[in-house]
């Protein structure tokens, strides 16, 4: 995509996210000031701008909010927004599935793949 430059991965406050992901767990941020969750995680809550944010482990469940399949790629791959029961919708991919049977509302469960040497949360049909 782009030249490699300094990355947000360098932010030490995000290290717990990557440590958990390495163990197969997906963390969100929960704000104790406004009570809302957010993703991708930030040290300061984007909803109320409080810095009283803490990590919240997700159940690893989700529902497809929307999806597409990049048909020109070889092999074709899916991209999806998945809504978690924790109240956020995250960009991800549905893997190990029949790409012709994806549907909005479909239940999916969390898994991980690797991207650039880092764990990346993906979903499989539940």
């Amino acid at each position: 995509m782009a030249d490699k430059g300094p990355s947000v991965l360098d932010d030490v406050l995000l290290q717990p996210y990557w440590d958990a992901a390495t163990k197969g767990k997906l963390l969100l941020k929960h704000c104790t000031a406004c009570g809302k969750n957010h993703y991708y995680p930030r040290p300061i809550c984007p909803h109320c701008f409080s810095d009283k944010t803490e990590w919240l482990e997700t159940k690893g469940e989700g529902t497809i909010y929307s999806w597409s399949v990049e048909r020109r790629a070889n092999p074709p791959y899916s991209i999806a927004y998945v809504t978690l029961p924790e109240g956020v919708t995250i960009l991800s991919s549905i893997v190990d599935c029949d790409l012709n049977k994806l549907a909005i509302g479909q239940k999916v469960k969390l898994g991980f793949t690797e991207h650039d040497g880092k764990p990346a949360p993906v979903f499989r049909p539940a």
Partner: protein, 387 residues
């Protein structure tokens, strides 16, 4: 404080090239600048404001100002991708209304077909904060917009056939534009039978990829009135950023829902007053969502609204993109906002192709969406009238 009626678009120019072999990005910026200034009847010595976005080769406006020999006292290099030119039009109108400059030049150039000029110079000094959380999923312009279409279909029952009508309308207009890349009129069947490139979008739901560029010159009222061109004045502007809001995702609407009402309120007009609309058309779904969000029809009813030729000049209620738009004419630098403004000005001047010229076109809108509809984008709405 308002910009209403305090700035006029006096000169426009669209580069005829669609494939700029052997032409540098800087030269395209210069040729469109020269064309727009000559159209206005002004010289480059008159320019005291310069606006250029991330398609400028160099650091913001610096290198291009030097190449063009400009000595601006007002500069702006706001970049929201393809809608930068709506934002620049708004900011230029503000600067002119405040007396910060009197002759503002806005240029665009791009070469995505031949290479040698990527937006932002092709380099990114630092990853954006979303990058590590989104890059693994290989989001493309195509599949991210496709997810908006998928969700819109799910919530509102919008169909591929309805989206296809948008391409049909654009192609009906493009047949009259000798510079358009795609001049063949297509049918709904041809669009929905073209290959699916990213579900549910077909190849013919997509815009063209083209080289080229364009420019406009915005001036203070007393200057506009001293020139020989028809008077086109800016009466309302609005801008907004829409993003995924920490995971509170709703893909069924665009930033036009915010920028549109601001522009309409300033102009003191309503959507049903608009005689011609330039609507950003990176994909058919982009057009449909913006038409809803700008208030031309009820949310969710865009599919029915665009069907049966309702966007075709001469027969439809809302003639749109009469140059063929990004869907058929050109999309220079993958930044379609500039050409949206240029065709709206042609319509207001009565200088569109006679086959697509809207009768008594005295009120027009040009709207842009830049970035990605499926993640984060900048919206700009400009309303103009013939004085």
């Amino acid at each position: 404080m308002t910009i209403k009626g305090k700035a006029y678009i006096a000169g426009i120019y669209e580069h005829p090239t669609r494939k700029a072999d052997g032409i540098s990005l800087a030269r395209i910026h210069a040729e469109v600048a020269k064309g727009a200034l000559e159209d206005a009847g002004l010289s480059h010595k008159d320019v005291d404001g310069y606006f250029v976005a991330g398609d400028s080769p160099g650091l913001g406006p610096l290198n291009m100002a030097e190449y063009l020999g400009l000595k601006p006292k007002h500069i702006d290099s706001t970049d929201t991708g393809g809608s930068s030119y709506q934002i620049h039009a708004a900011h230029a109108a503000e600067a002119i209304a405040l007396g910060k400059c009197k002759v503002a030049l806005v240029t665009l150039a791009g070469k995505p077909r031949t290479g040698g000029g990527q937006p932002g110079g092709g380099r990114r000094p630092v990853d954006p904060p979303d990058y590590p959380f989104e890059a693994p999923y290989k989001g493309t312009v195509l599949n991210l917009y496709a997810m908006c279409a998928q969700r819109h279909m799910h919530e509102f029952g919008t169909t591929s056939e309805q989206l296809a009508w948008i391409k049909v309308a654009a192609s009906t207009h493009a047949q009259h534009n000798p510079h358009a890349m795609l001049r063949d009129v297509v049918t709904v069947e041809e669009v929905v039978n073209s290959p699916v490139v990213a579900d549910p979008l077909h190849r013919l739901d997509c815009c063209v990829i083209s080289d080229g560029g364009g420019a406009f010159v915005m001036v203070a009222p007393e200057i506009a009135k001293s020139l020989k061109r028809p008077l086109v004045r800016v009466i309302g502007t609005g801008e907004a950023i829409k993003h995924v809001n920490g995971g509170q995702v709703d893909l069924t609407y665009s930033g036009a829902r915010a920028s549109g009402p601001i522009a309409f309120a300033e102009a003191g007009v309503k959507p049903s007053d608009i005689k011609y609309a330039s609507i950003y058309d990176s994909f058919t779904i982009t057009v449909l969502m913006q038409i809803e969000d700008l208030g031309f029809c009820e949310k969710g009813k865009g599919g029915a609204f665009v069907s049966d030729g309702n966007l075709i000049a001469g027969t439809g209620k809302l003639p749109f993109n009469t140059d063929g738009g990004g869907l058929c004419n050109n999309h220079p630098g993958n930044r379609g906002g500039m050409t949206k403004i240029l065709e709206a000005v042609r319509q207001l001047r009565g200088e569109a192709h006679p086959a697509v010229q809207v009768k008594n076109c005295d009120l027009a809108l040009a709207h842009g969406t830049g970035g990605s509809l499926g993640t984060r984008h900048g919206s700009g709405t400009i309303i103009m009238e013939r004085a």
